[in-house]
């Protein structure tokens, strides 16, 4: 075990992958010698050479088109999009191509070797173009997997699983936590199964569900709630597509209450899908309506970020409302 921040953990997962597969390639804007604007790929070009770790021209559409081709050839394609806000020029390549390669060709061809890493989320005074959480757009696309880690240990294990998974995977990294979140991480290889949620804290009164950077917020709210005698079960969804209906349903069957929290706008956010499914699965066990504490239906603001974000206080208010229903 070693103490690592999330960037080190990601770097370690990439390093293992590069050593394991001689054709694995890491590419994206500034990822080469400089190691990416957040330095997640630091040192890898020195280690594996310019043919396998390289800067691309500034074109996300190009990066993902290239990645689809490379993955179709059979090489692990580890593409970085500098900010999730800039993934949209590549939307067509991801949604129409990566996601449908296997289906449309009857599995004559597929891009299972593709992994797309990208920093997402707010809390860094980034305003509307450096703060978005676009996971729901991709979760609407059959053929993709969508993963969001909450800490360094999770990041390494989930990223390794994403890379090994034989489907195109989008890996959203909470940039606010890149350096802020530090923890024990094994230096050797390990994986965390995709598609599984993790119960982070057991509780009996209400289930709190989030992913990525929002986990810190609901954990904080759970702590404040426990001081008021409310016992929260805290769950990290980890995998948005596919998502662990069973684990959430099991928890809600026990607690009778569910609060889902995400940074992205509430309307058609992934919380909506969860609420609809759990509403059906657990209808007879629910003590109060499923609640969502999310971003407003506006672009992500700068000056009024504090007002906009679903903070612990808002989650706590929802917990009380749910308990008092």
């Amino acid at each position: 075990m070693a103490k690592m921040n999330m960037l080190h953990a990601i770097n370690s997962a990439l390093d293992i992958t590069m050593a394991e597969h001689p054709q694995a390639c890491i590419f994206g804007e500034d990822v080469g010698y400089f190691g990416g604007v957040f330095r997640a790929t630091s040192g890898l070009q020195e280690k594996y050479g310019k043919h396998r770790v390289f800067n691309t021209p500034l074109t996300e559409q190009g990066i993902l088109g290239f990645a689809n081709g490379l993955a179709a050839f059979g090489a692990p394609a580890l593409a970085e999009i500098q900010f999730a806000d800039y993934i949209f020029p590549a939307f067509d390549q991801i949604v129409n191509e990566s996601a449908k390669f296997r289906y449309r060709s009857g599995n004559e061809f597929n891009v299972g070797n593709l992994t797309i890493r990208t920093p997402y989320g707010g809390g860094i005074a980034g305003g509307l173009y450096h703060s978005q959480s676009p996971e729901a757009y991709f979760a609407h696309t059959p053929g993709l997997k969508v993963i969001v880690p909450r800490n360094p240990y999770q990041a390494k294990g989930l990223l390794r699983a994403a890379i090994k998974d034989d489907n195109p995977v989008l890996f959203f990294e909470p940039k606010r936590l890149y350096r802020a979140s530090i923890g024990e991480v094994p230096e050797e290889d390990y994986t965390i199964e995709l598609g599984k949620a993790e119960v982070v804290q057991q509780g009996t009164d209400v289930t709190l569900l989030a992913w990525g950077a929002q986990m810190e917020i609901i954990e904080d709210a759970a702590k404040q709630a426990s001081e008021q005698g409310i016992s929260c079960e805290v769950i990290d969804l980890r995998s948005i597509l596919p998502w662990d209906v069973e684990a959430i349903a099991k928890s809600v069957t026990k607690t009778g209450r569910l609060i889902v929290s995400h940074e992205a706008p509430i309307t058609n956010g992934f919380g909506a899908e969860i609420a609809a499914t759990i509403g059906q699965e657990c209808f007879l066990h629910l003590e109060s309506p499923i609640m969502r504490v999310c971003g407003l239906d506006t672009p992500y603001p700068l000056a009024l970020e504090k007002e906009y974000v679903p903070d612990a206080l808002k989650v706590l208010a929802a917990i009380k409302q749910s308990m008092d229903f």
Binding site: G62, L128, Y129, L302
Partner: protein
Amino acid sequence: MSNPNNVSLNINHKLEFIDGNALTIPTLSILTEDGEIHTGATAPDISKHTAIKLYETMRFIRLLDERMQGAQRQGRISFYMQCLGEEAAVTASAAALDQNDMIMAQYREQAALHYRGFTLDQFMNQMFSNELDLGKGRQMPIHYGSKALNYMTISSPLGTQIPQATGYAYGQKIKHIDAKTGELASTIDNITICYFGEGAASEGDFHAGVNMAAVHQAPVIFFARNNGYAISTPADEQFKGDGIASRGVGYGIKTIRVDGTDALAVYAATKKAREIAVSTGEPILIESIAYRLGAHSTSDDPSGYRSKDEEANHQVCPIDKFRKWLIKQDWLNEADDVKAKESIREEILAALKRAEVVAKPALEELISDVYDTPIPSLQRQYEQLKAHIKLHPDAYPVTAGRIK
């Protein structure tokens, strides 16, 4: 052989490839480093008034950049971007335009905006995201915009302004179509200039925008600022052809490359480009060559990807070059210049202090402008948020005190 399109077929009986670098486009240079006119070059026709305003703009932006870079280091603003080394490229191109021409910039063109009349306080209010910011405190510092000054508000996603500039310019052209004949009735009164970096020119939007302009003949000047780097990526990892200029030719539009540290060359080229655009409706591509002297932004550290030696080899100051020429023209006096700098520094500091204490935008601004009027769901979310803040005023000090 029949010709399928407008390509002229020049039949050859030898197997021959044209080299990818066969097109070598020259670079217009008028001023020497000593502020002289190169032998064989002709200084453009520029009035004393314009030349002085151009100079004062560059000088102001240099001082503003210095101060705000420092303010970011002190934690007073969250982010900043300088245009160090590119002041002449941006300012002289803007000076060659009409005040009513539209500017669609990338983010490093504050000098063009200041040339148009954006005030020191307006710059500060945007950077401090206060309630006087025209953009209502929504975007990161340096994302300026002003309708009154025909300067389209900056958007962070790179390259998106390029096809938009083509569309805007097309609008400027069809305003002059004769309703009866469908013909262009007169020369076009205003055009659009679109700035972007050599990095952004790799985006699909660049290719889409320039091709659309060529095919539909939109009066837009594409101004590529080739400053050698896109964050850490050097130009030789960005493209392999002869710069961005060769692509202009490839798309079938008139093109020129200029020394971007030479205010007179940039002014002359842009002035001429504008003349062509207004009289014919054609697009033009100008590639300006300069070196990004500073970091990409305050979030960047160039020592991680380029050497001190390399930086030292590129120390051309476009402002000095132009100053020397102005002094030779007897249009500028050194002592006055030094004195002016001192007073501008003081004004900048005073404006910074003023903007810093202006209140942040009111809570309503969170939901305004998402639509023309807030849709019902948004209005409901706002009422809920207001009630929540009223219950917990201490947690939201920026807005709580002003909620009605």
